[in-house]
Symmetry: C2
C-alpha cells in the first residue's frame, strides 16, 4: 500500500479527505450559472481542467474542455495515465507550477456538481452472495435461496440509463401497479415499499465490439462511482415475472459526482472470494480485480440527524466488475464508452452489513429503529439517503464524495 | 381509407411499391464512400434531404442536414407535419417544383442504407397474446400459460441499444453459457437454438420527464420500423431467472431502414383487441392506437430460395405502443428522443402465424420443412431471415423496406 502523496492544495493532506493527491477523481462542475466544465477534485478544491487546458497548463486536444468525460475516456488508457501523471506533478508539494495552477482552483463548496459523464447504457448486476442469499431466502426459502445459475453467471439485466442522476437530485416516490398478496386486482398507487440498493458502479471507458477477456475488460474500466439503485419493491414484486425488474428500477439511480479512476484504486485490489464451484474459463480472473472499499449508508428523516443503517465492503462481491463486463460482451454485445455497470447490492454477512432496507427490515417484518427513535421498514417521504465509501491507505483515503438523494412525495 | 396520392417520381405510383407519396418514410443513406445523409424514400428513389435543405428547397434549420433523425424528431410534432406537407407538395404529380427537386433524387438501388436514428435506449415488450400463450404453454403448461400480471401490465424489459443494427448487417451466431436439462454443468458454446422474433418497433420522437397519458404517449411516437429481436433460446433458458433475458438478446436487433411516420399509418389505425379484464385507467386508450399492418418472415438457406415461414398482423397485439410507452413512463422514468420500443413477438392464432421459430417448431419438436426440402427447428449458419410488412390502402401500400440479416458462424 502506497503512502500519502503530499500536495500544496488546501485540505489535500488531511487524513480524512476523500480527495488526496493519490485520488484525483474526475467530475463535472459549474459555478453560479456558468457552463459545465471538467474538473478534478483535490482536497477542498476543484481544479478547473477546462481552463487549465485553455491556459496551456495541460494539453489533451480539447478533451478536457467538454461538459462530460466521455470524449476523454475514449482517448484511451495512455491518456488516462498521462493525465494522472501530469496532475500529480502539478499538484505535488513543492511543484514549480504552483503559481500557474493556483488560479485555476475553485472552492468545492462553491461548485455545483453534475453527472460526470453521459451514461450510454446502464446495466445492473446481482453479484453479492449475501444479498442474493438474503433475498432468495425471503422469496423462496433457505433451501432454494440461490438460483441454480448464480454461482456460474454474473447475473445481470439492462437498466434504464435515463434514470441516472447525480448526487443531490431529489427522487420523487414512484407510482406504479401494485398488487399485494391479499389483493384480488392490482391498483395504480404510490409505492409503499420504496427502497435503496447500495452498489458500486463501474464506468466503461473503452468500447469493444465482440467478446473480450476478463483481463481486457479490467483494462477497459475507466473508474468507479458509488451507486444507489432506488427500487420500488411492491412494483417489482408484481411486475418482475417473467422478464425481470422494469418500472421498479426506472425512477432514479443516484451516483456520486466523482469518478475514481481505476489507477487510484490499484493499491486496494483484492481477489474475489474463493469459488464455490469452478467458473467457466471465459470468466476466470488472471489476478485480483475487486477492491477493498468500505461502504456505508446513512438515513436521515427530515429535521433529524442521520443514522448509519449499514456498513459493508465492496470486497464482499462474488464477481468483479471485470468479470461482469466480460460476461456482458460474451454474446457479441457491443460495449460503449460511458456504459455504467452496477455491481448489484453489496451486503455483508451480518444484519448491520445489509445494503437494502428489504434485507435490513427482512421484508418489512423487522423495522429498524433510527437514532431519532423513528422506525423504518422502507423509506418515508422526505428521508435523505446518503452513500459514502472509501479505500483506506496509510494516512490517507480514496473517497468518492457522496451519493445522496431526498425522497419527495409521489405525484399522484 | 385514403386513395393513392399520385407522384411524378419513378415507381411511386406502382401499387406494390413500399414507398408511394402517401408514405414518405425517412432514413439515412450514403452513396459510394460519401457521407451519411438524411433522405426520404419515394418510389424507386431517395430524395436527398441534406442537399434539398442546402439548396433552399426545404428549410428546417439544418435539421435535415445531419446524419440521423434525432435532431429533427426533437424539433416537434409541428415540424413533423410540416415536412410531410411540404414533401407532398414537392413530389405530387404536376408539382411546379419538379425541375428543382428532380436533381436531388438518387436511385435507391445505388444507395447504402444506415441506421436512421441514434437509438437512445431500447426496450422490448411481450405484448402479443398468442406469443405469450404459446411460450407459456411450452414452459409452464396450458393452465399456467399467461403470467398472472400479463392481462394487467404491458410486460417489458430493457434491452441493449448498442445491439440495434440496420437491415443487411450480418449477425454472428452468439457464444454463451448453455446448460441443457440433462447437463450437470453449464458450458460456454455457440448457441444451437438461435431464433428470430418478428416485431414492430416504435420510435419515440418527443422526450418526457414524468408520467404521461396514453394519448400523450401516442402523440410522442414519431414512427414505426420493422424489428427482429434475434434470440438465443438456449442461453436465455439458463440465464433468465430471476432477472430476465440478458445475453440471449444482446447480440443483434435488426431494424428496417425507413421510419414510417405515424401520420402515414393514420388511415390504418385499429383498436386493440377487446380486454379480457379491465385495464387500470392509466392504460386506457382514448381511441384506436394499433395498426393494421400485414407482416411476414422469409427464411432463405444459402443458395436456396426463400420460404415464407410466417404471416401475421400487427393488429394481433394486446397492447399498443402508446400503452407501452405510457406504462414505461409511469414510474417517472424519463423517456428520450430516439428511444426504441419493441412490440414483442407478433404471433397470430394459427401455426402459420407464429413470429418465432421457437413457436413454429414448438420448442424444436416440430421442425418446419422449407421449400428447398431442408428442415429447420432453429436457424442454421448462413440462413438469411427477412421481415417485411405493409399496410394495404386502396391501390397503394405503406411499407418499411426489409429488415434482413444473414447468420454467420460463431467466432468460437
Amino acid at each position: 500500500m502506497t503512502e500519502l502523496l503530499r500536495s500544496w492544495v488546501d485540505g489535500a493532506n488531511r487524513p480524512d479527505t476523500d480527495f488526496p493527491l493519490n485520488n484525483l477523481p474526475v467530475g463535472v462542475f459549474s459555478l453560479a450559472d456558468g457552463p459545465r466544465r471538467q474538473g478534478v477534485a483535490i482536497g477542498d478544491r476543484i481544479l478547473d481542467l477546462g481552463r487549465a487546458e485553455a491556459a496551456g497548463v495541460l494539453g489533451f486536444g480539447g478533451r478536457l474542455m467538454q461538459d462530460g468525460w466521455n470524449g476523454f475516456m475514449a482517448s484511451g488508457r495512455g491518456e488516462w495515465a498521462r493525465l494522472r501523471r501530469e496532475l500529480t506533478m502539478l499538484l505535488a508539494e513543492g511543484a514549480a507550477a504552483r503559481a500557474r495552477v493556483e488560479p485555476l482552483l475553485v472552492p468545492m463548496a462553491a461548485a455545483r456538481l453534475h453527472l460526470p459523464f453521459a451514461v450510454s447504457e446502464y446495466t445492473d448486476f446481482y453479484a453479492g452472495r449475501h444479498h442474493a442469499t438474503n433475498v432468495g431466502t425471503m422469496f423462496r426459502g433457505p433451501e432454494n435461496a440461490l438460483p441454480s445459475n448464480w454461482l456460474h453467471i454474473p447475473i445481470g439485466y439492462n437498466g434504464r440509463a435515463s434514470s441516472v442522476v447525480v448526487t443531490g437530485t431529489s427522487v420523487i416516490r414512484p407510482m406504479g401497479q401494485i398488487k399485494g398478496p391479499e389483493d384480488a386486482l392490482p391498483r395504480f398507487a404510490a409505492s409503499a415499499r420504496f427502497d435503496i440498493e447500495l452498489e458500486m458502479g463501474a464506468v466503461v471507458g473503452q468500447a469493444s465490439d465482440g467478446p473480450i477477456s476478463v483481463a481486457e475488460a479490467f483494462d477497459n474500466i475507466f473508474g468507479y462511482v458509488l451507486l444507489n439503485d432506488w427500487s420500488a419493491r411492491d412494483i417489482q414484486a408484481w411486475e418482475y415475472q417473467p422478464l425481470g425488474p422494469f418500472q421498479a428500477k426506472a425512477t432514479a439511480t443516484t451516483i456520486s459526482p466523482w469518478i475514481v479512476m481505476a489507477a487510484a484504486l490499484a493499491p486496494f485490489r483484492v481477489a474475489t472470494p474463493e469459488r464455490e464451484v469452478p467458473l467457466l474459463p471465459y470468466l476466470a480472473e488472471p489476478g485480483p480485480m475487486l477492491y477493498d472499499i468500505a461502504l456505508e449508508v446513512g438515513l436521515a428523516p427530515e429535521g433529524a440527524p442521520e443514522t448509519v443503517i449499514a456498513r459493508t465492503n465492496y470486497r464482499e462481491m462474488y464477481y468483479s466488475a471485470a468479470q461482469q463486463l466480460a460476461h456482458h460482451a460474451s454474446c457479441g454485445c457491443p460495449m460503449r464508452v460511458g456504459d455504467l455497470l452496477g455491481s448489484g447490492t453489496i451486503s455483508g454477512p451480518e444484519r448491520g452489513n445489509r445494503g437494502s432496507l428489504l434485507e435490513i427490515s427482512w421484508g418489512g417484518k423487522e423495522p429498524i429503529t433510527l437514532d431519532s427513535g423513528e422506525t423504518r421498514s422502507f423509506l418515508a417521504d422526505r428521508d435523505t439517503v446518503t452513500l459514502r465509501g472509501h479505500a483506506q491507505g496509510r494516512g490517507y483515503r480514496i473517497g468518492f464524495g457522496e451519493a445522496s438523494g431526498k425522497i419527495l412525495p409521489a405525484r399522484g
